[in-house]
């Protein structure tokens, strides 16, 4: 059997970008420090040298301007831009372009517009980056119709989902958790796609379902391993794309286990976690043997002090505790 090489999550992103740029001249990259610098997390490294400054564009710090430009370029059909919003926290200055422009254009214009653009951005706490560089605001994108929202947890998923996202004709928000860039995993060298809207059961189990996203998938797997030692069988479902959502896989897992814990790094109220809980309540209520448990941070801004931040982020221990509470 051929050995599948292991590469990092950041390298997987880079390979997907490289493949799409080599395949289609319409694909360009824009963003702050994506060129010579190679992206502050290294995801676009080497692409500037390979494809040049026209197609790998360093932008001024003006997110509304260059994200708006990407939307306009995509709407003309002349380009398929992949833009980088360095931190999801910077979303505020570009809300209008994403929520009122990219998301609504197709519908407002009666289905005539296609907006083939990908907005890559980063989320996640754990780096003492404090309240304006650590948030996980994916739920905001899920809330507004017209956007596809992707949130991979492994290098393999990152590569396949990013290729699918760039080839998709709708605006896709592709969210990369900062804590995942360094993790390694098996990734085929050749290009492949993972369909949007297809969840992945990261671990099968029969007593309780944990639905977790991005870095929380790894915390859930860590918790599952410990619970397994105590004889508790945990199924970990990673939706991978939040829009479209693979409701069937989630609901089928709940039907199988009868118990649900949702783990998400977003703020607790009106969140992706509450959304999954609502789906469980409306689509699988009769199968639930216990209340749904949510493991999320508290509704506070993200603190700077590592001592406080550690308390803020959902941990494997908190997940274990939540599972035990509903058994």
């Amino acid at each position: 059997m051929a050995m599948v090489r292991e590469i990092t999550f950041a390298q997987a992103i880079n390979e997907a970008l490289d493949y799409e740029m080599s395949k289609d001249e319409k694909v360009i990259i824009m963003g702050e420090d994506v060129g010579r610098y190679g992206g502050i997390f290294g995801a676009t490294a080497g692409l500037y040298e390979k494809y040049g400054p026209e197609r790998v564009r360093d932008t001024p710090i003006s997110e509304a301007g260059f994200i708006g430009a990407a939307i306009g370029a995509a709407a003309t059909g002349l380009l398929r831009p992949v833009v980088e919003l360095m931190f999801i926290d910077f979303l505020g200055v570009t809300f209008d372009q994403i929520f009122n422009q990219a998301a609504k254009m197709r519908y407002m214009f009666g289905g005539k517009a296609k907006i083939p653009m990908v907005l890559r951005t980063t989320c996640g706490a754990g780096f003492a980056a404090a309240a304006q560089h650590s948030q996980s605001l994916h739920a905001l994108f899920v809330h507004v119709p017209g956007l596809k929202v992707v949130m991979p947890s492994t290098p393999y998923d990152a590569k396949g989902l990013l290729i699918s996202s760039i080839e998709d004709d709708d605006p896709v928000i592709f969210i990369e958790h900062k804590g995942l860039y360094g993790i390694k995993g098996p990734v085929p060298e050749e290009p492949y796609t993972i369909p949007l809207g297809e969840a992945d059961v990261k671990k099968e189990g029969k007593d309780v379902t944990i639905v977790a996203t991005a870095a929380m998938v790894h915390k859930a797997l860590e918790a599952a391993k410990k619970l397994e030692e105590e004889g508790i069988s945990v199924e970990v479902v990673d939706p991978r794309t939040l829009v479209p959502l693979d409701v069937d896989t989630i609901v089928n897992s709940i039907k199988k286990t009868g118990r649900l814990v949702v783990v998400d790094e977003g703020y607790p109220r009106c969140s992706f976690a509450t959304d999954i809980a609502a789906i469980a309540a409306s689509k699988a209520f009769e199968y639930l043997k216990a209340p749904v448990k949510l493991v999320t941070p508290p509704a506070t801004p993200i603190p700077f002090s590592p001592a406080l931040e550690k308390e803020w982020i959902p941990s494997a221990e908190k997940i274990e505790k939540a599972v035990k509470e509903i058994l």
Binding site: A69, T76, F109, G110
Partner: protein, 334 residues
């Protein structure tokens, strides 16, 4: 610009475009008053020379982005009037299948990338269109229309900067109609001409009388040719005046009846243009009257089409959110 230097067919096109916009807008005002056109309606009456003077230089493969006051741009760019009238009514046959309405009139088939309900929202889209043009090696241009109010939005400044550093084929057209809803321009902007702001971005900026279609035509010619030659963006500020309120039903407490009447009497762009055309003997009174006849007939046919068109159905509600079908749930309904 001396009128003799402009081809006669261009002069006729500009006059006809202005008249079509005027007749359209006056008819829409009536239809709105009758309750046949729902929602917000922002009319272009009094500003017709801008759309006509700029669009006289544009081709079908050029792009424009528009504002909430977008009917004039749509008509001048060659949008289908029957489809837009049906859209104003909210009918299924509308240009946006009844999902956009007046504020989102669009016709991507003729490069009209859409009216925008967000002030300043469309300016960066023109920059992106221009980037696409440049990277594809085309000689098209993109024109961003926006008002004086939008010139204070971040997107205005960001877009001028981006277009300038990337030397993109885009023309920024600020339609300064002197009121940001109710706030006079002199109270929201502390420069004499918004065009002066071009200096800050290292691009040409020029202010022009927007009631004089020949002046607009001349300034636009230079800016658009410059963009097509690959020499980068221009900011054009067109001084104009909206004859009607910000929106239909606006009580207009912020300006006097005398002021409005003065503009209608002395600065009506159609009257001004007509005078030149007649004095120079380019067209006869009868020829110009025929233009009005044609426009009235065209608009009435559009109104009839809109009135007789069907409403969208409940099945249409969840269509057109996404273009690429995928697995999983895309459009959620509990």
């Amino acid at each position: 610009m001396p009128v003799e230097e402009i081809p006669k067919e261009t002069l006729l096109w500009m006059y006809e475009t202005m008249v079509r916009i005027r007749v359209h807008e006056e008819r829409v005002a009536e239809l709105f008053a009758q309750g046949k056109v729902p929602g917000f309606v922002h009319l272009y009456t009094g500003e017709e020379a801008i759309a006509a003077g700029i669009m006289a230089h544009l081709r079908k493969d050029d792009f424009i982005t528009s504002t909430h006051r977008g009917h004039g741009h749509y008509i001048a760019k060659g949008g289908d009037i029957k489809a837009s009238m049906a859209e104003l009514f909210g009918k299924k046959t509308g240009s946006c299948k009844g999902k956009g309405g007046s504020m989102h009139i669009a016709d991507l088939d003729v490069g009209e990338l859409g009216a925008n309900g967000i002030v300043g929202g469309g300016i960066p889209h023109a920059v992106g269109a221009a980037l696409g043009i440049k990277l594809n090696g085309l000689d098209s241009v993109a024109v961003a229309f926006f008002g004086d109010g939008a010139a204070n939005q971040g997107t205005f400044h960001e877009s001028l900067n981006l277009a300038s550093i990337w030397k993109l084929p885009v023309v920024f057209v600020c339609e300064n109609n002197q009121y940001q809803i109710s706030l006079p321009a002199k109270e929201h902007t502390n420069v004499k001409d918004i065009a002066e702001r071009a200096k800050a971005y290292g691009i040409p900026g020029v202010a022009v009388d927007g009631q004089d279609v020949l002046a607009v035509y001349e300034v636009a010619k230079e800016a658009i040719e410059r963009a097509r030659r690959g020499e980068g963006p221009t900011l054009i500020e067109v001084k104009t005046y909206r004859f009607r309120g910000h929106f239909e039903g606006d009580p207009q407490v912020y300006r006097s009846k005398e002021e409005i009447e003065w503009w209608k009497e002395n600065k009506d762009p159609i009257k001004i243009f007509e005078k030149v055309l007649l004095e120079k003997g380019i067209f006869t009174k009868e020829e110009l009257e025929q233009v009005w006849e044609r426009a009235r007939k065209e608009i009435e046919e559009a109104v009839k089409f809109a009135e007789e068109s069907p409403w969208p159905t409940k099945e249409d509600l969840t269509e057109d959110v996404f273009s690429t079908p995928t697995k999983g749930v895309l459009v959620w309904q509990w």
